[in-house]
């Protein structure tokens, strides 16, 4: 399977680079080369051959001969350069991971255990601030503090351990935040599980409950994120490498993309994809070590081989035990509403008492002994999604009742979006108007946020920037929503061959880390709003498709879907009328949380010299444009930086709130 993915990645990256505009021969020969010289060089490099011939040669040399070629620009064998640079990048990535483990996981655990208390708020604030600041900005601030002011750490380069301290801190903040949030979420998933309640009921100390029952059962998604993070860090380290002049793979690859050094790009991407695949394999193997359910499953299978009948009795007993514990109305509620969640975390009740989770909403919270037994023939009718908007009303109600901060965050986002839309009317100046007589002006009544290096009004640019930054964040969700959801629907609904084909395609797409794929696509497509949105959205397709597929897999066998099929409802209608509306909640949460990530990625593209180009006032680009001045005119970077951080923070806070509100187990 790994070989298949690598082959797919090789074909994909070759194809992308083939169609990328730009001519390596021109780069080699310089701008004054004649047509004849270019022709000779292209022939020498084999660039004149047709696509299929070149592709075949590349695959043959790479996979059969293991000949990875030499760089067009440097004439150095690609593999020897990668051999030097990959360990540096790996070291950084491992450093990021270590910070995530040592800081991120404890933060998440504390936040989950102290849910809705001050400790939770503080931990999540730390995490969210981390995810809301561009890493190149954090890096420069760290350099200013620890290298220039305190003179403790070297500002750049590689060497002893201290050279890696600032790069690792700057590069791990985003991952740390993700890790902490995932850990919290994962812990919350299990912290109110029945077996945890049972353990508490038995009088076991809270610390032991957390260490013995909560953490082990919540580790799976944590490890998944950790593994994903390590894979992404291999490519994501490039911004940090650039800031700190670290000779890693990221900088090598980025330069190669801009120079159209095809052999370097192709082999680097393959190496990263291979590393990513191996990490994912190791993650899968790690599950077997840490997840008691998987262990139990293996043990159960083992026992089943010995005595199938005996195992069945054990299972029945277990189910009855849980039913006994469901007299708590909260636990009953948990078992009744969260069909999606329950599908991904199978519960013994599914097999034994399926009617419970088709409970009408008005009966939610009622003790089981007061629930009327549902007649068998009415089950489907009861479960059908008759109240389309009720869930959204309920979510809003919960947010209003329990998480007003999330609503405030939503309000801020809406306000800034509105400001961006109306910027032409409310901004005091045009975003592009230059006044070279008034550069670097400090904030004043005439210019609330001051002016930049071109004398442009920063306040007006920040307002217009909302249009572009939030627009990119939202716009980049369109393609994943259309294509990702469509692919997920097809894979999840039809299964079998369709599923296999789509999943393999998604495997290939996912094997290329997000930022790396975005960089390559951005370079291929060129700058501008639309191209940037496309470049940032294509890498999101895979996640969205996988999520949709998972939802469809859990919903397609539900009674109401089977009933719809039984009455000859068309497949299209089944998908769009019955399944998709019920699968939409997790997609909304994912989209909300992805917007912040995309806005941040757009700023990273700007830092690398891609993405939005001047004079458009995208916030990330404004920060990048001002970074050379931030030590002298901090206002130039402060305001766009604050607004960027605020919006990303708000999207994340709202996303977190939405997720909690949509999770019935966290009702209280």
């Amino acid at each position: 399977m790994m070989l298949f993915v690598l082959l797919g990645v090789a074909i994909l990256i070759f194809t992308v680079m083939y169609f990328v505009p730009g001519d390596p021969a021109k780069n080699i020969l310089g701008p004054t080369a004649t047509a004849e010289e270019l022709q000779i060089m292209r022939e020498y490099l084999g660039l004149n051959q047709p696509y299929l011939v070149r592709l075949g040669r590349f695959l043959y040399q790479t996979f059969i001969h293991f000949d990875f070629g030499t760089s067009y620009m440097t004439s150095v064998p690609v593999v020897s350069e990668i051999a030097k640079r990959f360990p540096v990048t790996l070291l950084l990535a491992l450093g990021f991971m270590a910070v995530k483990i040592v800081v991120g996981i404890p933060l998440g655990v504390i936040a989950a255990v102290k849910r809705n208390k001050l400790a939770d708020r503080l931990c999540m604030l730390v995490a969210l601030v981390g995810v809301s600041l561009p890493n190149f900005f954090v890096a420069l601030v760290l350099v200013l503090l620890f290298s220039v002011k305190l003179n403790w750490l070297p500002a750049f380069g590689v060497g002893s351990f201290k050279y890696y301290i600032m790069p690792i801190i700057a590069g791990s903040l985003v991952g740390l935040a993700t890790q902490a949030r995932q850990t919290r979420s994962s812990m919350l998933d299990v912290i109110r599980a029945d077996y945890v309640t049972t353990a508490r009921a038995k009088g076991i100390s809270e610390a032991r409950v957390i260490m013995r029952h909560v953490i082990p059962n919540g580790m799976i998604p944590v490890i998944q994120v950790l593994g994903n993070g390590l894979g992404s860090s291999l490519a994501g380290a490039l911004v940090v490498e650039k800031v700190f002049s670290i000779p890693g793979l990221g900088v090598y690859l980025t330069n190669a993309v801009s120079q159209r050094d095809y052999p370097v790009v192709q082999i680097c991407v393959l190496v990263l994809a291979l590393a990513f695949s191996i990490i994912m394999l190791l993650v899968d193997l790690a599950f077997a070590f840490v997840d008691p359910r998987i262990k139990a499953q293996y043990e159960g299978q083992s026992r089943m081989r010995k005595s199938t009948a005996g195992a069945k009795e054990e299972k029945t007993e277990a189910a009855e035990t849980v039913v006994d514990g469901l007299y708590d109305p909260d636990a009953l509620y948990a078992a009744s509403i969260s069909a999606e969640k329950r599908a991904s975390h199978p519960h013994p009740l599914d097999a034994e008492c399926r009617y419970i989770y088709v409970l009408p909403e008005e009966l939610v919270g009622t003790a089981t002994d007061q629930i009327p037994v549902c007649p068998e023939e009415d089950k489907v009718a009861i479960q059908a999604p008759t109240k389309k908007n009720s869930q959204f009303r309920m979510v809003f109600h919960r947010l209003w009742k329990h998480n007003k901060i999330a609503l405030v965050a939503l309000g801020v986002v809406l306000l800034l979006t509105l400001a961006g839309m109306l910027a032409s009317y409310i901004a005091p100046y045009d975003y592009a108007t230059i006044d070279m007589t008034n550069i670097y002006a400090l904030p004043s009544a005439a210019h609330w946020f001051g002016t930049d290096a071109f004398g442009r009004d920063i306040f007006s640019r920040v307002l217009y920037g909302a249009r572009y930054s939030i627009g990119i964040g939202l716009g980049a969700q369109v393609l994943p929503l259309i294509l990702g959801v469509a692919l997920g629907c097809l894979a999840g609904y039809f299964g079998r061959t369709v599923d296999a084909v789509i999943m393999r395609f998604l495997d290939i797409l996912q094997a290329i880390p997000y930022l790396l794929l975005a960089i390559i696509l951005s370079s291929a497509l060129g700058g501008g709003i639309i191209n940037t949105i496309i470049a940032l959205s294509i890498p999101c397709i895979s996640n969205m498709a996988r999520l949709t597929r998972a939802q469809f897999l859990s919903l397609r066998n539900q009674e109401y879907v089977e009933a719809a099929a039984a009455i000859n409802c068309s497949k299209t209608r089944q998908i769009f009328k019955h399944i998709l509306p019920n699968a939409v909640s997790p997609l909304i949460v994912t989209i909300t949380m992805d917007i912040g990530r995309i806005i941040m990625a757009a700023s990273q593209l700007s830092y690398i010299g891609l993405g939005i180009r001047p004079p458009l006032p995208e916030w990330g680009a404004m920060i990048v444009d001002s970074q050379n001045w931030f030590r002298f005119y901090p206002h130039m970077i402060l305001f766009p930086g604050l607004v960027l951080a605020l919006v990303v923070l708000c999207f994340n806070v709202f996303g977190d709130g939405l997720r909690d509100a949509m999770d019935p187990r966290l009702k209280n």
């Binding site: 505009p21 730009g22 001519d23 390596p24 780069n27 080699i28 020969l29 310089g30 701008p31 004054t32 080369a33 004649t34 010289e37 270019l38 760089s71 620009m73 440097t74 004439s75 350069e81 640079r85 360990p87 790996l90 070291l91 991971m97 270590a98 483990i101 350099v143 290298s147 220039v148 003179n151 403790w152 500002a155 750049f156 380069g157 590689v158 060497g159 002893s160 351990f161 580790m219 490498e241 650039k242 002049s245 090598y252 330069n255 801009s258 159209r260 230059i434 071109f454 370079s523 060129g526 700058g527 010299g609 180009r613 001047p614 004079p615 050379n628 001045w629 030590r631 002298f632 005119y633």
Partner: protein
Amino acid sequence: MKKAISMVLALLMIFSLVACGGSTASPPGNTSTGTSANTPSGDAGAADKTELVIGVTADPETLIPWGPGGAGRQILSWNIYEYLFDLDGFGGDVTGILAKDYEQVDPFTFRVFLYDYSHDANGNPVTASDVKFSFETCMELGASARNVANIESIEAEDDATVVFHFSTNMDENKGLFEEIMMNTYIVSQKSYEDSGDGMAKNAVGTSGYLVKEYVSGSYITFERTGDYWQTDEAASFPNSKAVADSLKYVFISDQNQRAIALQSGQVDISSNLSTADLATFAEGGQYSNSFTVTQKSENKVLSIYFNCDESAITSNANLRKALAYCFDSDAVLKSAYGGYAQKVYALSGTDRYPDYNDDWNGRAYFDFDLDTAKDYLNAYCEESGQKPGDITIRILCQNSGVYENAALVLQSYISQLGVTCEINSRETNIAETEKFDPSLYEIYLYSYANTTYWVACLNTAMGMNQSLNEGKSMYFVVDSALQSLLESALLPDATKDDLNALDEYINEQCYAVGIGCEVKQLVYANWINGITVDRKVSVVGGAADFDWTAKAGWSAR
């Protein structure tokens, strides 16, 4: 749980081990930070060795002598290889390095006389056959050696005499011979073949230094061989000096980091700093007591080139003039170079070229005049029937700070004409591709330079036989009168009048407008008495003059 904890601990252990292992490469700059710049790095035995640390913008990526001419290679190759001839300083005279002299046999043939005792750092002699080998290999590789394509054949008459036969009439191409001689490095064939990688990593040249360590993307160090072949002081080329025992070039792409590296004492010399940072090093600045700032004018002239293809609206001279008069060069230079720039008064015109006419300095040259610009625009509108609001001008440029910043100001000025102006900033290679498509832009913003003559530089952009656009100039000009004037000015015996006529015609037609050239600011610690730059204004570390004892008490604070 225990296993999970074990795994975490194991990973941490692996990480810490790897981190420790990473210290095999020595750090850039000095081995410790901050004031440690005062302490020579290295082992005890090396305590007396002098070392200069230079912060540069780019990595050479490869050390091959004739590879693609990236900025990093241009900066560093001088420390490894030497040419046959070079200019003795920026804007100076052609002087022999490996060659003593040359003679022109006829318009197509030149004889070059070599020093008969030159050798490379490996001790291999460099003879006429090595020169032949170097040029032929360069031609074979094709990389960054466009001018060598003019060589028809090379013969080694004896060990110290090489004869070049050209396919181009050198009498009609002023400066071309020098250009070829000054852009092809000479290596020993034996060393080249022994290197095994075309000297990509194991580079050996004839300079006074040898590469000691090259960490791609991080730094490169050179160590003085102590056996430089040119022992005759009088004949020694100024930039070939090898004063410091070792040189370390640290690659720092981030502009902030380059300034911070100077301030924290991690590098001794750097350039390409932001104007705000420069102010801290210049007189009256926070670091002015510890650093010296010196200025060197570039000869790359930032210019706007109009797309003159008949399909483009800028094929109309009135529109071109409207655009030429509508912007203030000073404002453009201020945004592009932070004001560290010099306005020019002719296309590609700087007084660094020997054939540049100094009389042009200070003359009226497309001076900012919005009324004149509007008059020309109205004339164009009358001719074309268009309204200003219907006109869209697209500026194509590379996505570097200089071009983008200049384009922003140009856009602002052009908009004052009521004309729509868009900026299309592209990656270098895409911009270089798109400029050959006349449907994609009206203005191309670029800087050309030449080693030898002003007219040779003009010929690159304006000559109709110089580009991929067959029969047209790089920017689609088809003008026999211009070509004729260029050909006259390119003759070795071209007069001042020929050059004036060419300049006048280009300005009259307004095919392109020169804006200005950067005045490069080089900052160095003040225990260094003076630095030398090559003809491309890159610091030649080995030729720097310094007082090593003064470094002991030096601090960046």
